[in-house]
C-alpha cells in the first residue's frame, strides 16, 4: 500500500481532518498498521480513534514503535551517536519493521520488560567486527552496538545481516533471562524450566557449557550448576536454527529497496553464514568453527569431491562474504 492510499482510507474511516497523516514521516508499514488497527481490528471505535489521536499527537521525531495489540508506545532507546548515523539508523528502522524482526523487538518492551534494548555505536579499527551485543552488570538491559568504522567499508546488506544477527543475540539473552536469575551459573531448577519452555536454548547451553555437580555416597545429587559458554551456545544455535530468519530479513530489505541480486539464493545463503562460521576472532590464531559450518563443509566436500576445492560451495560463500565486507561502505542515497 502506498502513502496516498493510506491517507484516503484514514479520512474515510472518520479520522478528524485536522490530523494530516501525510505530514508525518511514517513508513508504508506504519500507515498500514494504523489503518488495520483503526478500521479492520478497531472497527473505528472511539477507543481506537483516541489511540490513533495519541499516536498522531506524539513527537514525530521519536523512534518509538507502536504495539497496536497492547495499545502502547514501545520505547526503544538510541544513543545520540547512533541517531547521528542517519543512514545506519534508516537501515535499522527498515529491519525492525520487517515481519520477523518486529515480532522479536516488541518482546523487549512489554509492560514488565525482562530486558530493555538500547542501540549505540562503538569504534574499532578492526572494521570487520561490525557489531556486538552485550548485557549490563544488572542483566536488565541489552546493548546492540555497531562499529562506526565498518560503515565506510561494508555494504548495506552486511549491516542488515549484522543488525538482524545482533537482534537474535539479544533475543537469546532475553529468553534466557526470562527464566534464569544470573546467567553466569544456571541452577537445576532453572535448567528444568528452560527445558520446559525453550528447549533449544536449554540444549545448546548444556551442550556448550560446563556442568558441575556433587553427589553423596548413595549417588544423590547434592549440588548442581551449569556454567554456560554463551559465545559457543549462541553462535552454534544461530547457525543451526536462525539462518532462515537472517535470509528472510535480507530478502525483505532488498525487496523494499527494489534491489535484485544475481544468483540471489546463493547470495543470501552465503551471507547468512557471516559471523556464524567461526566463533573466535578471525584475526586470532585459534579458529573454532561452529558445528553447523563444520557439518556443512564436510557434506560439501563429499558431494563436490570432483570439483576443485577453491570452487566448492563453501569457498564461493566465503568469496561472496568477503566481497560484501570489503565494499564501498553503506549508502542510503
Amino acid at each position: 500500500m502506498n502513502d496516498n492510499a493510506s491517507s484516503s482510507e484514514t479520512e474515510e474511516s472518520g479520522l478528524t481532518p485536522s490530523y494530516n497523516v501525510a505530514s508525518y514521516n511514517f513508513t508504508a508499514q506504519q500507515y498500514w498498521d494504523i489503518y488495520s488497527y483503526l478500521v479492520v481490528e478497531g472497527g473505528c471505535s472511539e477507543e481506537a480513534k483516541d489511540f490513533i489521536e495519541e499516536i498522531l499527537n506524539s513527537d514525530p521525531d521519536d523512534n518509538d514503535i507502536v504495539d497496536y495489540e497492547l495499545e502502547i508506545f514501545v520505547e526503544i532507546t538510541e544513543t545520540v551517536a547512533f541517531q547521528e548515523q542517519t543512514c545506519l539508523k534508516a537501515i535499522k528502522d527498515d529491519i525492525v519493521a520487517t515481519e520477523k524482526i518486529s515480532k522479536l523487538i516488541k518482546k523487549f518492551e512489554p509492560t514488565s520488560p525482562v530486558l530493555h534494548l538500547e542501540w549505540g555505536m562503538f569504534s574499532n579499527t578492526n572494521w570487520g567486527n561490525t557489531g556486538n551485543t552485550g548485557l549490563n552488570a544488572n542483566q536488565d538491559t541489552a546493548f546492540i552496538n555497531l562499529n562506526s568504522q565498518s560503515l565506510t567499508h561494508v555494504s548495506n546488506i552486511v549491516m542488515v545481516q549484522t543488525i538482524a544477527h545482533e537482534i537474535i543475540h539479544a533475543e537469546l539473552y532475553r529468553k534466557l533471562k526470562e527464566l534464569v536469575d544470573d546467567y553466569h551459573i544456571i541452577s537445576l531448577e532453572e535448567y528444568t524450566e528452560l527445558q520446559d519452555n525453550f528447549l533449544g536454548i536449554a540444549d545448546f547451553t548444556l551442550r556448550y557449557g560446563n556442568r558441575e555437580y556433587t553427589q553423596n555416597i548413595m549417588g544423590d545429587i547434592i549440588s548442581w550448576g551449569l556454567y554456560p559458554d554463551l559465545t559457543l551456545a549462541h553462535h552454534n544455535q544461530m547457525a543451526a536454527f536462525y539462518r532462515d530468519t537472517l535470509i528472510d530479513v535480507m530478502k525483505a530489505y532488498d525487496l523494499s529497496k527494489g534491489t535484485t541480486r544475481p544468483n540471489a539464493e546463493e547470495f543470501y545463503e552465503a551471507l547468512s553464514w557471516s559471523g556464524l562460521r567461526i566463533t573466535s576472532d578471525e584475526n586470532g590464531e585459534i579458529s573454532q568453527f561452529t558445528d553447523a559450518w563444520k557439518n556443512f563443509k564436510n557434506q560439501v566436500d563429499i558431494d563436490e569431491a570432483d570439483i576443485p576445492e577453491a570452487l566448492r560451495t563453501y569457498n564461493r560463500y566465503i568469496n561472496i562474504i568477503i566481497n560484501e565486507y570489503d565494499n564501498n561502505g553503506i549508502n542510503c542515497n
Partner: protein
C-alpha cells in the same frame, strides 16, 4: 544312689551359677566377638576403600594410590563404581594440576590487538586466583574453577564469573590464553601470550 544324684546336681548347679556370674568371662566373650567383627570389617572392601580414601591429599602423589584402588576392584559392583570414580578423579586432578602449573604466570595482550579498544591488556594467574587488568587497572579478580578439556588444542578452561579463559599451548610453542565474555556477544576475542 539317690545321694550321688543329689550331690552331682548340687555340683552342677553350683558350677553353672559360678560360670554365669563371672563378669570377666562375659566381657572376654564380648571382646572376642567385637574383635571377630572388627576383623571381618577390616577385610570388607568398603573398609579398605575408606582407608585408601583417607590417604588422598589432592596432590600428584595421589597417583600412588591408584594401584591400591585397582587391587580393590572385584565382584562387588558398588565398590567397583566407587573405585573407578576415585581413579578417574585422581587422574583428572593430576591433569588439572599440570595445566595449572603450566599456566600460572603473567600473560600480555598480543600485539595484533588494539590496546585502546581491548577490554583487557594483562592477565595474571597466581595460586587459586586470576587477575585481569586493563593497563594497570584491575578489572576483575577472583578464585577460579579450572576445567579440563577434551579438545586437542585447548588444555583447559578457567571460569571466572562472566569470563571464559581458554588455555592453549599449541601455538608456536607459546602458551596462550584466549578470553570470551559471556556478557558480550561478538566482542573481539582477545588473545594473550605468556611472558617469560
Amino acid at each position: 544312689m539317690k545321694k550321688l544324684i543329689i550331690i552331682t546336681l548340687i555340683v552342677c548347679f553350683s558350677c553353672q551359677k559360678k560360670r554365669t556370674i563371672d563378669p570377666c568371662v562375659e566381657i572376654e566373650k564380648k571382646y572376642d566377638s567385637i574383635l571377630s567383627s572388627n576383623e571381618t570389617f577390616k577385610n570388607d572392601p568398603i573398609y579398605k576403600f575408606y582407608s585408601i580414601l583417607e590417604k588422598e591429599t589432592g596432590k600428584s602423589t595421589d597417583s600412588l594410590l591408584i594401584q591400591d584402588y585397582r587391587d580393590l576392584a572385584g565382584k562387588d559392583s558398588l565398590i567397583n563404581l566407587y573405585v573407578w570414580d576415585r581413579i578417574h578423579s585422581i587422574n583428572q586432578n593430576i591433569t588439572t594440576n599440570n595445566v595449572y602449573e603450566l599456566f600460572k604466570g603473567t600473560f600480555l595482550l598480543k600485539p595484533n590487538h588494539n590496546k585502546k579498544y581491548a577490554q583487557a591488556t594483562k592477565i595474571i594467574v597466581d595460586r587459586d586466583s586470576v587477575y585481569i587488568y586493563k593497563y594497570d587497572k584491575l578489572i576483575i579478580s577472583d578464585k577460579f574453577t579450572l576445567i579440563n578439556s577434551s579438545n586437542k588444542y585447548i588444555k583447559g578452561k578457567i571460569i571466572l564469573k562472566n569470563y571464559r579463559l581458554y588455555l592453549d599451548g599449541a601455538i608456536k610453542s607459546k602458551l596462550l590464553i584466549q578470553i570470551d565474555d559471556n556478557g558480550c556477544m561478538d566482542c573481539e576475542q582477545l588473545q594473550f601470550y605468556k611472558t617469560k
